[in-house]
Amino acid sequence: MNDLHDLLHDAVADVEPTDRLHELRARTADPARAAARPWWWAAGATVLATAAAVAVVAVVSDGSDAPGPAHHHHGMAMDPTTSTQLVAAYFIGDSPEGPRLFREFDRVESGNPLEVAQVALTSAAIDPDYRTAWPSGSIADTGFDGIGDDGQISVVLDRSSMLHRPEGLSRAEAELAIQQVVYTFQASMQTRAPVRFFYGMGEPADQVYGVSTPDPVEADPSALNPVSVSDPAEGNEYAGSMIARGRVQSTEELMDWAVLDGQTVVAQGNSTIDSGDGTFSPWSAEVDLSRLAPGRYTFIAAAGKVGRGSGPFTDTRTINVR
């Protein structure tokens, strides 16, 4: 194994870094200034030069029908294998009390956690009940400068027009759009670090989709739909039985579930909720499908009496029974 040790040591043996102690002293003397921009703001000159060209083009092409710069859709070009991984992405769906965020686990090509999350967030949800406020290419870049819950997630908007609320996006959806980003990237980095939005050459975005964002944005649990289904995934196929799982926020002890054929209930039951204290807790159910004819069904999980009582809040999945 010594060959690799020698090889790597030799490969950088002639790297003599510039002395940057003075610069470091200056930056650490005023930490607020050092943290005011995304961490790569001061990155190497070649990187900045190309970024400048990109920013100009992005602004020029903004609002026209001309295709903008090519946006990566499936990154991870460096990985020669095609292994995949599950990523939790949050999407907007409807509830009895207006739009809420729903979590979906998507299988994507493995890669850098932020990039994987960005791909999932800016792609259509698999569940047709969900939508994303972030079209493909709308996020130019992301970064995380911390460890654990320290630090900050940086999200760079692709176009300055995204500071304003587009037609067709309601005020409530715009606020959820911000939380979509916060929850998805926090999940990908397994952190509670807040999200700071930027645009252009690293200018702080003090509003996004018309929502004021002068400070780093924290996760807001009231954005989440109180019930979610993790399994089954949309369109899964089963024979005999399936295990359904998810999370629910409820003051009840039981959560109802059912299997529907069209509008007809063909199976139903309930699951015990651990806490019942209004925080999120896991639920699971073993669902017997053995008496169902092959075909498409809807699995629905329903949590009643969560908050103001206008429920039930639900989450649904289409399943196929063989």
């Binding site: 950088v12 002293r25 650490t28 961490w39 460096m78 020669p80 460890i147 397994q190």
Partner: protein, 167 residues
């Protein structure tokens, strides 16, 4: 360290800089290839460790934090550069300015490292350049020891294959 009062953040920065600046820049060069980017990444890591000194207060913890910060930021820098280059590629041919060309053999090693998947490259750099244990690598990258093992063996095999002529 027991016979002296604990360092202030500024003192810690000076001490850590003296002991680890060169080694950490070199670690980052193994990850990102470009020395200029490596210096920026490492400098940012030192700024971050200075800001968190009141919570770390211990040179060993600070060094572990620095390593982790350098690895994470190197990964983000690569990603950022990839995004920028993909954008730029649609505008004009990228000037192939690679500011860290060394000897052919050194360049070949750095190229081969860049060709590996992120995790394999990181595990190899931490193991063979910093000589960290499996447990330390697992902590630094936030992955299991089993994953460290598997990235190390796949990475080593891939690197040997890419560098057949150099080994």
């Amino acid at each position: 360290m027991t016979d002296r009062p604990a360092w202030t953040a500024d003192e810690a920065l000076e001490q850590l800089y003296a002991a680890h600046w060169r080694g950490l820049v070199r670690l980052s060069v193994l990850l990102v290839r470009d020395q200029g980017v490596a210096e920026e990444v490492t400098q940012d890591a030192f700024v971050a460790v200075h800001a968190r000194w009141s919570r770390l207060r211990d040179p060993d913890k600070a060094l572990a934090y620095l390593r982790q910060a350098v690895v994470n930021r190197s990964r983000s820098a690569l990603r950022h550069r990839a995004v920028v280059q993909r954008h730029a590629a649609t505008l004009r041919p990228i000037a192939d300015a690679d500011p860290t060309p060394t000897s052919d053999r050194r360049a070949a090693v750095l190229d081969a490292m860049r060709a590996l998947p992120d995790r394999q490259r990181e595990v190899l750099a931490l193991r063979y350049y910093l000589d960290l244990s499996e447990a330390e690598i697992a902590d630094t990258l936030g992955i299991s020891r089993g994953a460290v093992k598997s990235h190390a063996s796949r990475g080593a095999a891939a690197l040997r294959l890419l560098l057949q002529e150099e080994l």
